[in-house]
Symmetry: C2
Subunit: 419 residues, 2 copies
């Protein structure tokens, strides 16, 4: 057998909170004006109370509401797959497993947190959400989730993506979401994630009926993603494995990495590996310090690895990984040596993605390709040493909406990168 499914009634009933497992407590976010620690009241205009409580919680487990489970069960538990064809092509003694998050309605792991965020907002009487999106993975996921709870949604989409990659914009609209190009006040500007966050926060603050929603970085977002790692742990046992030797995931803001890796944090022998683009090397070349989450400095200051909130990463196909900062939880684990990080140029990433497509049959999203690149390199290292290493990586999304990137790669049109 090379694929392990679980019946929908085997979905995890609680999220795993990594906060109490850290070697030292997290430093608090600071108010952008006063630079004093932010309290729940400061966040209330943006988020519902339940999410603020989760953001600050040190409880080890947090129950998943039944209404959320009912929707997650539309596609969860997701399969765990052993990549035997890739192993054979590499001639490696390593056993490679991946958790396939591409079967969600939006085609990525993002709905795992979009659904509970929509639920808690609806429960609190909120009628409308505002958010930003870059290439559109998060915007589509939240549009799907809002359709399930009859919430209106306003998406501010980076203008360059809105105009040049219209497919995810159309998906947002198909699910009933409204989407406009950002920045809204400068039609000549190509836009940036930072500017789109500013637009969304401004919208939210101006309207009583509206909250803001974020698809990565924050503690509660990563908490919601831990269903990935919890299921994988159970499925690895079904596959006859004790624990993986290494868990690998791409890292932009950190949500899919945290989702698969955090449940293994107390298993000391399990290496945790973050993979980022060389063009936006937050963990590998950034500094750990307090910085803003957005370009304009509207958000609280977070303790994290950052390239500086005015850093503008070059345009790469893995739009989901172009973020100047990183999740404070992930940053903390990297700083303390519990998690490693590596960076790759996109040409090496697409080379790995095409090898994966031609062996395992699935075409990955460029973000996901970063994990595949690192997985292949780990497997080739195991070939050198003869080690029967067990590798687990997160297949965090499909590439059906990123095929123009493959077209560029296959036809030699990817820009040169230092690497």
């Amino acid at each position: 057998m090379t694929r392990w499914t679980l019946s929908p009634d085997r979905i995890p009933s609680a999220w795993f909170n990594v906060a109490p497992h850290l070697s030292k407590p997290m430093d608090p976010p600071l108010h952008p004006g006063t630079r004093e620690p932010v309290g729940p009241g400061d966040l209330a205009p943006l988020f519902p109370a339940a999410l603020i409580e989760q953001e600050m919680s040190t409880e080890p487990w947090i129950d998943i509401p039944g209404e959320v489970l009912d929707i997650l069960r539309l596609w969860r538990p997701t399969p765990l797959v052993r990549a035997t064809r890739l192993e054979q092509a590499l001639g490696t003694p390593a056993r490679i497993y991946f958790k396939d998050e591409s079967g969600s309605p939006a085609g990525s792991h993002k709905p795992n947190t979009a659904v509970p965020q929509a639920f808690y907002n609806a429960q609190e009487g909120i009628r409308r959400l505002a958010t930003e999106t870059g290439a559109g993975q998060w915007g589509t996921a939240l549009a799907f989730a809002c359709s399930q709870f009859d919430l209106d949604l306003q998406v501010y989409m980076v203008r360059a993506s809105y105009e040049q990659k219209p497919y995810r914009r159309v998906a947002i609209q198909t699910w009933g979401g409204a989407v406009v190009p950002s920045p809204v006040d400068d039609p000549a500007h190509p836009g940036s994630l930072g500017a789109a966050i500013s637009d969304a926060v401004r919208d939210c603050v101006a309207r009583e009926d509206t909250h803001y929603a974020l698809g990565s970085v924050l503690n509660h977002v990563l908490l919601h993603q831990t269903v990935i790692g919890l299921e994988a742990k159970e499925q690895l046992a079904l596959a006859g494995e004790r624990l993986p030797d290494v868990v690998i995931a791409p890292c932009g803001g950190g949500s899919n990495l945290g989702g698969i890796a955090f449940p293994f944090v107390s298993d000391a022998d399990v290496r945790l590996l973050a993979v980022e683009p060389l063009s936006c090397p937050t963990l590998t070349q950034g500094r750990f310090e307090y910085d803003f989450g957005d370009t304009a400095g509207f958000t609280p200051l977070l303790p994290m690895y950052t390239l500086g909130h005015d850093f503008v990463p070059p345009s790469i196909h893995a739009g989901g990984l172009r973020y100047h900062g990183d999740s404070p939880l992930v940053s903390s684990l990297v700083r303390d040596g519990r998690m490693e990080a590596v960076a790759y140029p996109q040409g090496k990433v697409f080379e790995a993605s095409v090898q994966f497509a031609r062996t395992e049959g699935k075409i990955p999203a460029p973000e996901c390709g970063h994990a595949i690149r690192a997985t292949i390199d780990e497997a080739l290292a195991a070939k050198e040493t003869g080690e029967e290493k067990v590798i687990l990586f997160n297949y965090c999304g499909h590439g059906f909406l990123d095929l123009s990137a493959y077209d560029d790669y296959l036809n030699g049109r990817l820009p040169d990168e230092q690497g």
Copy 2:
């Protein structure tokens, strides 16, 4: 519970052959030159012996080779889902189930036959396949399958799709297939499926190492798709249902319809319903007679419903349903009254598809939307009568590569149709 999975070891081990269940034997295909019945020798330049034998077999069950099962298990068995949110939105007492074929590597049901076709050709020592594709569903599926058996692939893609909808072309190339616009000898011609078939057959006949492969219409193709209905039958029992009252699928050449419906053909109380586009109404307005499979008259004459092999359907978004003829097996069941057919204009189809996306969360391919339209109408009829009808339909593919069609629908750009 609203979703029923089966472990990969529960995949069907044999295909269901509908031929021995017909009320009278099929009329044979005729040679295009002599108009005499075609024998196995006539087909040997195009197909491997195992597929020719399946094409003519009246054995009730045909074993699926282990090498084929190993690849089908990458995504099969597929889930059966109860569409409770759609039921609630319609206020119907009907129970609606769908078989979700969208999780295959190519995103549709097509790999179910692409894999065995590639396998039998590789087993016979063939090194290369040639095929045609319209919008690209079949070309992508065969490219994936050829990558699994190290076969070269040449795809002739209808020029208009090649130029205007490049995503599936890129997917074919990502899996290692070669693709050229058709017709090859007239760069100014927008192309047609008939012309692309002619290009592929000509390529195949000219080269010893090359066979031809077809994605629908033929008996062996529909045979391979019966894993869909066989799994659905087992999963409906798990869901506590005896049998569906009606089985619904879109119909172009007939492969996904045959796949889900044939295993129910001997269950006399189960209605079988084919859904086609009003712009290409083969079963509802065509004639049952011998006709060519292609425009140029290269292929054998098949006994089928046809609009005439020179019929040119208008351009619609459900490219997979634009075929002048139909599977002889499906045609035979319609002629004999065992199967019904209905036709819809595409505006009504997209209306249903958007309702499905906003309730069940998944964005369907336009082909698939035809089945959803008919399902909704059956469910609304059940609401009128109060009948607790059980409806099963085939969710034969996702719409991630068809979002420009949704863009046209949502912005009022679909052309008017008679309906």
